[in-house]
């Protein structure tokens, strides 16, 4: 496959088209505005829909309306924009429609900053909007992986009739890397006639379809929530993705890190190896469902003395890592959140520090 050098944000836009998504609505926000700029040119070329909405609130519902009539749709935004879309994400989850949301995270809370961050972990994996719902959340660590995840996200959203979120950080959006685009996937969501409001005329059944999330009868609403829970449980069985790095050796510490941060961790691991120190890494590629079992098993290696959650957030993933390790080993956190990515040297220093605290060095 031929590789081209592309900026992450533009590659994300191109990946959507290659995945058969010809419907894109968005509102500009740094550091992801290039997706909209790119698709404002590309969508007309491929006969697709590009529309810049008046706000992220509206864009969320443009996505909802389009998704509800069976179209393959995507939006991209960054942290404050995702907050505004959270209302729609809750409704889309409640109404069980497929849609892809890309969050190229920047620092927060509030206006925060425009540099890379991973501070929306909890928002993405634990809610954001109201009610009992979950998103399938995928976290790319390179432009290539962002492309692949965007292309996987559409069939996954359609399989579960649930929003899928690609949680990248500003670096993934802004950096240029060589990227190869996999072959085109399906171009049409399947079985939409069973549920989508695509017009009765288009369906053999002659039955009308209804897309809604209101259930005034408590028993019915409870059952709907049980149905949604079963879906999230199925994701936990079938969709967990992660990468192991340097875990076939007797490592003294286990790192858990995702996205851009995990690449820094890998460099730190390689550097420490040359100094004779072995460190393992589990990199979640899906943040929901979270690779709990993989982390728990990796933490149980007898040589492993401490588990470190290394993030560009103030310990948001730490809670999931602790939950995964289940008290078997001490779990600690290191991270930064202003938009500066911790350097390999800083990570190496932290690893040494924690190894000292938990035994030898």
């Amino acid at each position: 496959m031929k590789k081209v050098l592309m900026k992450g944000n533009e590659a994300i836009g191109e990946a959507a088209i290659r995945a058969g998504c010809l419907n894109y609505f968005a509102y500009p926000i740094t550091p992801q505005s290039e997706v909209a700029e790119y698709l404002s040119k590309r969508m007309p070329e491929v006969g697709g829909v590009f529309l810049q909405g008046e706000s992220e609130v509206a864009v969320g519902y443009m996505i909802f309306g389009a998704a509800a009539c069976g179209a393959r749709v995507m939006t991209t935004s960054s942290s404050p924009g995702i907050s505004l879309m959270s209302e729609a994400i809750s409704y889309i989850s409640g109404a069980e429609c497929p849609a892809v949301f890309v969050n190229i995270m920047r620092g927060g809370p509030g206006l925060g900053g425009i540099l890379p961050s991973q501070a929306d972990y909890l928002q993405a994996t634990k809610g954001g909007g109201h009610g009992d719902y979950r998103l399938l959340v995928m976290a790319p660590a390179s432009v290539q992986e962002a492309v692949e995840m965007v292309m996987q996200a559409f069939p996954l959203a359609e399989k579960y009739r649930n929003p899928v979120m690609i949680l990248g950080d500003g670096l993934i959006g802004q950096m240029m890397e060589p990227v190869a685009f996999p072959d085109q996937l399906r171009t049409e969501p399947s079985n939409k006639d069973a549920w989508a409001t695509n017009g009765m005329d288009t369906r053999k059944s002659g039955k009308r379809n209804l897309v809604k999330s209101l259930y005034l009868d408590p028993t019915v609403l409870n059952n709907q929530n049980l149905k949604l829970k079963a879906k999230y449980d199925q994701m936990k069985r079938e969709e967990i993705r992660f990468e192991n790095y340097n875990i076939d050796v007797p490592y003294e510490a286990l790192l858990v890190s995702y996205g851009t941060m995990s690449r820094v961790c890998k460099t730190a691991i390689d550097n420490l190896k040359t100094e004779g120190l072995e460190i393992g890494l589990v990199r979640p590629k899906t943040l929901f469902p979270f690779p709990e079992v993989a982390i728990r098993e990796a933490s149980r290696k007898p040589s492993c003395r401490v588990v470190l959650s290394i993030e560009m957030s103030m310990g948001q993933m730490l809670e999931d890592v602790e939950r995964s390790v289940q008290g078997g080993k001490p779990v600690e956190w290191y991270g930064k959140c202003g938009g500066e990515v911790p350097t390999p040297e800083e990570v190496m220093d932290e690893i040494r520090l924690f190894l000292q605290r938990y035994g030898k060095e």
Partner: protein, 245 residues
């Protein structure tokens, strides 16, 4: 002999939950009649609001989506952009459209989205128990303006039809009412015109319907009709506010 009067096919058999004297039901029927007459039921998608008409989808027999409070115009935009062949209308109350959803309606209209809005103006939040709306009349008592709407504090009621008609983008914007039989024929004609403009892909179309809420106005159905006619109609003047060339 054939039947001279029957339920439109676009209307379901389900009895509505609307209060006695409420005109939501009349407006539903007019929409259904027009859809039948234009033979467009099979490509229709309705969008229900948050408000008393939240269950509107139960009373029609074609595809329906349910929106969040005020967001119906954005949903309709999403549908029409990806499926211009579908017919789409939003059905929205005044709290829904003129308050929380003001941004969505103004921008959808200004973009010239090719869908239709049926805007039911009853000068109050009906569903949540009669709170003040942006359309509440001066001095009108509501549960959140117990002394009457004080325009010095909260401004004058918003005339949405006129507001949207001020936009430069071509559109069909009209205000009608269904409070008395003499107005109903005109209201139906306006709804039909709105759908025809949409079908022709011509412009955004908006029909404001001055309506009643006897329950929250604390009036009998007859008193409510008279209050609407005497208090609302002089302020919310009926008629076309904008027609496309």
């Amino acid at each position: 002999m054939g039947k001279t009067f029957q339920k439109p096919e676009a209307l379901s058999d389900m009895p509505t939950h609307y209060c006695p004297g409420c005109t939501h039901g009349v407006i539903h029927r007019l929409i259904a009649e027009v859809i039948d007459e234009m033979n467009i039921r099979g490509k229709m998608v309705g969008i229900a609001p948050v408000g008393c008409a939240v269950l509107a989808y139960n009373y029609f027999t074609f595809d329906f989506q349910e929106a969040a409070h005020g967001r119906a115009p954005a949903m309709a935009t999403g549908i029409k952009r990806v499926r211009p062949d579908l017919m789409v209308f939003t059905y929205q109350g005044d709290g829904d459209l003129a308050s929380i959803g003001m941004g969505e309606i103004v921008h959808a209209a200004n973009r010239g989205e090719k869908f239709t809005t049926i805007f039911v103006n009853n000068a109050v939040y009906g569903m949540t128990g009669g709170q003040m709306a942006p359309t509440t009349m001066p001095n009108q008592r509501t549960t959140t303006s117990p002394m009457g709407r004080n325009v010095a504090e909260v401004g004058m009621p918003i005339k949405v039809a006129e507001l949207l008609a001020s936009l430069q983008t071509p559109a069909y914007i009209t205000r009608q009412t269904v409070i008395k039989p003499k107005y109903i024929v005109k209201a139906k004609k306006a709804i039909r015109k709105a759908f025809e403009y949409q079908l022709a892909g011509k412009c955004y179309s908006f029909v404001e319907v001055v309506s009643t809420c006897p329950t929250n106005w604390g009036l009998t159905p007859l008193e409510a009709v008279n209050w609407a006619e005497n208090t609302m109609l002089p302020y919310y003047e009926l008629g076309d506010k904008k027609v496309p060339d």
